[in-house]
Subunit: 283 residues, 2 copies
């Protein structure tokens, strides 16, 4: 019987070991920069995005290890966005995952630069050409770059900051959720599939899955953040309502699972389990 916890933990361990190797050694010059980069990356969270990238490679009919550099690239990209989002000029968060944020620990300049270097390293890994032959580095990098850029994650963050300062509406919430969160989930799935030369119909199925999973994940995240508090009327939950938000999250999970129909069962099963987990998790 498939056990999601075991699956996630096994894949997470592979990702963490590979991240450990991919980052420059902590003492390497400039030492403070490499320390700050590692501080942002370790210990990580669930590593959901890179795990999904590996799962997509398998669901597409390939081997997870062929997609490992792509998976690391997605995680490093995600990590850099957290470092920059926490900065005083953005969300001004002093704590993350129970520890001081990167800029609190290393100073603002080093945190900006650690984020910048993590983004560059993400692209270095996405382009990794060993083994050289059939790996479509250009396509993998393009997926990541589009998801990361002004029409993706960065665009979502810009609207999110503007949103917090002013009036929101359902359309703005949809824009933020799609670009700030779903675009990188989508890219994680697509990069995994493209890295192993996925047939077009599997790539399409994984794209629909990734879009819907990302949207469900973000709504579930907002619900977890809100807890039992009455939501701010300007916020995402204020607009959808708590019950409305729960219903939307469930709809996206259903669509994500439905998209997996044509995939081989052993590839679809972990992805379906992750989708259900995303809305049921308690943290």
């Amino acid at each position: 019987m498939f056990e999601l916890n075991v699956y996630l933990e096994e894949k997470r361990r592979v990702v963490d070991a590979a991240l450990e190797e991919a980052l420059p050694a902590p003492g390497r010059r400039p030492a403070i920069l490499h320390e700050a980069m590692r501080y942002a990356v370790f210990p990580g969270g669930k590593r959901l995005r890179p795990v999904l990238c590996l799962a997509a490679a398998e669901a597409a009919g390939g081997r997870a290890d062929s997609a490992l550099p792509a998976a690391l690239a997605v995680e490093l990209l995600h990590t850099y966005t957290l470092v920059h989002d926490d900065l005083p000029c953005m969300d001004d968060d002093a704590m993350r995952r129970g520890r001081p944020t990167c800029h609190v620990r290393y100073g603002i300049a080093n945190a900006v630069l650690a984020g910048d270097a993590l983004q560059a390293l993400a692209f270095e890994l996405a382009a990794r050409t060993d083994p050289p032959a059939p790996y479509p580095a250009g396509r993998v990098v393009s997926e990541l770059a589009r998801a990361a850029g002004s029409l993706g994650v960065v665009g979502g963050q810009v609207e999110d900051i503007a949103f917090e300062d002013g009036q929101g509406n359902a359309e703005t919430v949809a824009f933020i959720h799609r670009h700030k969160t779903a675009d990188l989930f989508r890219a994680a799935l697509r990069m995994g599939a493209i890295a192993v030369g996925s047939p077009a119909e599997r790539l399409e199925a994984l794209t629909v899955y990734g879009d819907n999973l990302g949207l469900a994940f973000q709504i579930a995240d907002d619900l977890l953040d809100a807890g039992d508090l009455k939501p701010d009327p300007m916020s995402c939950l204020g607009i959808y309502g708590l019950a409305g938000a729960r219903e939307r999250a469930t709809q996206h999970v259903d669509r994500a699972v439905a998209a997996l129909e044509g995939l081989p069962p052993e590839g679809a099963e972990p992805l379906a389990a992750v989708a259900r987990y995303v809305v049921e998790r308690k943290h």
Copy 2:
């Protein structure tokens, strides 16, 4: 007879027109982000790095237009580093090229994010796979990523900030010049050559040229910044001395020009002229 001004102006125009097309339209959502990105990119300076990338493609025996996306990538990468270097947490510069800096005009958060998006766009262009066939996207992206990351430009900036706060020595100055400046010049040359499938010996010649040009450029820049003032004893010029710095710059130019020896004359001529110009320019 070869006229450097005409050559630089012609190539600069090609680069500017292509940058105009490569950046999302100014009104595209989020409009403030796309405005801030364009504000940082236009009007540019001499566009020396992308012009060198195109010149390298021709010196390697290829067509400049095959290296055009790579050339734009180098310029966008350079531009993003200027936006982040100007931030209050780094050099805290209010003016650049006679105008308010990006964060003064658009706010700190938008400037950080515009820089982030410019870096992502740089990699999107470096990976551009049209025409799809022989373009080695993975190698071009790898060159840019290594030059841009913690062992390249970002690493140089970290040491530069630390240097300004404390004691410098010749070895630190060499580290900063190499990584903050020369690494991206080197990458510009190599990316142009790799984009057109350069033979190994031409790639090697252009690499040596790029390294030395970058080092000469940075010393010349420091000399221009210093003007007639007595140099800060902690600064680069304080360590080399004015005459020592001029001598070093000239040595690097000589080495850069010598490296071009095996290249076809029509490819070597513009590169040699740029190298001499870099130390003779008055701004």
